[in-house]
């Protein structure tokens, strides 16, 4: 089951450059939220703050509070590793593990969490691959082919399956379809649409049509600030900020 997210006064830096400025956002459970904005506006950094991936960069700094469900993930004493175990992430470029079989790719997260029983793993791998709409294409070569042998679109669905296998409370997607062709993109979008019945999804996208198609809520970022955050129909039909309107009508960005 998905959980809600509550972000309060989030500021993030790389070295001296401030990437995010005073971001506030509240997202309900089991909804898809799209994050849009021009390149360099801080979208990716924003989602990376939601599972504490931001701090894996040695120059990174952060203030503010992020609550996922009822847990404050930046509270002292909370281990970033535990936070990430409950939050799935899918990256822009598909990054399956090239030295592992398809099966091992999906099972990787479970094995990290101490699952070793054969039948549990089998069931979880099958379930996740079915959820990611990849099962039918790979079920015969699960243990024979490596994750890197698949096509780009299949690789990305494999990465989604890998993220789903650990039953995350929240799924973060950083431009999951930007490196894919339209057909693969369509499959991923369909998938996101189905996932929201069980997961809370935050998706960064460059593609405004994509945001309009899949998201319930949309946030528009510009120069590190969250300019507007509202229901997707509202953002794309009657935005309240002039800058949002300029962006979605293609006048800049």
């Amino acid at each position: 089951m998905g959980v809600g997210i509550e972000v309060r006064d989030l500021n993030a830096w790389f070295g001296k450059a401030q990437i995010l400025k005073e971001v506030n956002m509240t997202v309900g459970p089991n909804a898809v939220t799209a994050v849009i904005g021009p390149s360099g506006c801080g979208k990716s950094t924003y989602v990376r703050c939601l599972n504490r991936m931001h701090e894996t960069n040695p120059d990174a700094k952060l203030t503010g509070s992020v609550k996922v469900g009822d847990k404050e993930i930046y509270e002292s004493g909370i281990d970033a590793v535990d936070v990430r175990r409950k939050i799935g992430m899918v990256f822009q470029k598909p990054n399956p593990f090239p030295t592992m079989s398809i099966y091992d790719n999906v099972a990787a997260g479970l094995r990290l969490n101490g699952f070793n029983k054969r039948h549990e793993l089998d069931a979880a791998v099958e379930g996740s691959l079915k959820m990611a709409a990849l099962w039918d294409e790979v079920k015969d070569v699960l243990k024979k082919k490596s994750g890197a042998s698949l096509s780009g679109g299949q690789q990305q669905r494999l990465c989604i399956a890998r993220a789903l296998a650990v039953q995350p409370e929240l799924l973060l997607m950083d431009e999951p379809a930007s490196a894919l062709d339209p057909i693969s993109t369509g499959k991923i979008e369909e998938l996101i649409f189905q996932l929201k019945t069980q997961y809370t999804v935050v998706i960064v996208t460059h593609n405004m049509q994509q945001a309009a198609r899949v998201a319930d809520y949309t946030g528009f970022f510009l120069m590190g600030k969250l300019i507007e955050f509202d229901k997707t129909e509202k953002i794309f039909t009657t935005p309240s900020d002039k800058r949002t309107e300029d962006y979605i009508t293609g006048r800049f960005g």
């Binding site: 990430r84 990256f91 593990f97 090239p98 990787a108 990290l112 990465c159 993220a163 650990v166």
Partner: protein, 352 residues
């Protein structure tokens, strides 16, 4: 615009096949496109000729490597004819080395070379890989340069200095501290028995290990750096600890390259002469204990070449050189086979 000529065609076709956007329309309205001086795009005859020269020059360079190898092999065989004729294949299995009686067998030297190299690898690989992991994954940025520079500095020390350091520092420590301890607790293995001279196979192995750490560490470091960041992030995002990240994302993807580094280190250990000669004890016999003195192929050639007065003796020494070459080739082939077998699926390079 004038009527389209043939040279305009590709551009016109391009415009036809994509839907004009606002930006395209604006560009068309703005002005005539600048005229590209197409003449530049033709390659001149001289550049074609240069291309041919360049290609053949490189071919020559590559062939010269094969040529040198061929000449070395030919020289070694032709100059060891006497010994090959007298001992045949028994040369490689014979255990006596008696210049006075004119009886020569190379097995103790082959054994000494392989054993000292194996000891060196066992000590050096964990150390070098550990250093590389620390430098690339864990080390604060300020320390990173200092550590890699120091490790690489080890490679710049001449081997005779290693030999001297071995005699004056390493050997006394081995004799007085390490070997008594080892023979007390490790004698049951059979590897640590006999009198503790200090000098011997163990000392040679340790000094070789120190000498090959830099090459293995620096190659491993390069390979680890080449592992895409996206692989590390993939594992971290699954909730991996630092060590799990290193194991799953870094070492797994880099294993072929690390093996490559180990092969280069092994090559250096097999051929190393000076430091080993000073520390191994130079006695041609096969002993199981690492405390016992031994002899390597490279050492015997260096030590005895100047005293080899009769033709058979000289010829036997040259054949030792041939044996060294053959052992090197076999070891490298085996190592390559190993790399191939563990990376048959795919490697990080095919992905990145």
């Amino acid at each position: 615009m004038s009527t389209p000529t043939e040279s305009d065609l590709p551009r016109l076709l391009r415009i036809d096949t994509h839907v004009a956007t606002a930006a395209d329309n604006a560009a068309v309205e703005r002005a005539e496109l600048p005229v590209v001086p197409r003449i530049v795009l033709h390659s001149s005859p001289i550049s074609k000729w240069l291309d041919w020269v360049f290609r053949n020059l490189l071919l020559l360079c590559s062939l010269s490597v094969l040529g040198v190898m061929g000449i070395i092999f030919y020289e070694l065989t032709s100059r060891s004819k006497l010994s090959i004729a007298k001992f045949g294949l028994h040369f490689f299995t014979g255990q006596t080395w008696d210049p006075v009686a004119g009886d020569f067998g190379a097995l103790p030297f082959i054994y000494g070379t392989l054993l000292s190299s194996v000891v060196a690898l066992l000590l050096a690989v964990p150390l070098a890989v550990g250093v590389a992991i620390f430098v690339t994954e864990l080390c604060p940025r300020m320390l990173r340069g200092v550590i890699s520079f120091t490790v690489e500095l080890l490679a710049a020390i001449p081997s005779v200095i290693y030999g001297l350091w071995g005699i004056f520092v390493l050997v006394p420590i081995l004799r007085l501290q390490v070997q008594p301890w080892l023979s007390k607790y490790g004698a049951w293995t059979g590897l640590f028995t006999g009198p503790a001279y200090g000098i011997g196979m163990l000392a040679a192995g340790i000094i070789l290990a120190i000498m090959i750490v830099p090459i293995i560490a620096s190659i491993t470091r390069e390979v680890l750096v080449a592992v895409p960041q996206s692989q590390r992030e993939a594992v971290l995002a699954l909730g991996a600890t630092r060590w799990e990240m290193v194991r799953m994302a870094v070492l797994r993807n880099a294993r072929a390259g690390i093996m490559g580094g180990i092969i280069l280190g092994l090559g250096r250990a097999i051929g190393e002469t000076m430091a080993v000669t000073m520390l191994i004890g130079n006695r041609p016999e096969i002993a199981k204990s690492l405390f016992a003195p031994g002899y390597t192929m490279a050492s015997v050639i260096a030590n005895e070449f100047s005293e080899a007065t009769d033709d058979l003796y000289l010829s036997a020494l040259v054949e030792i050189g041939l044996a060294l070459l053959i052992v090197t080739v076999i070891v490298n082939a085996c190592a390559r086979l190993l790399v191939w077998s563990i990376t048959r699926g795919s490697s990080v390079r095919s992905h990145a």
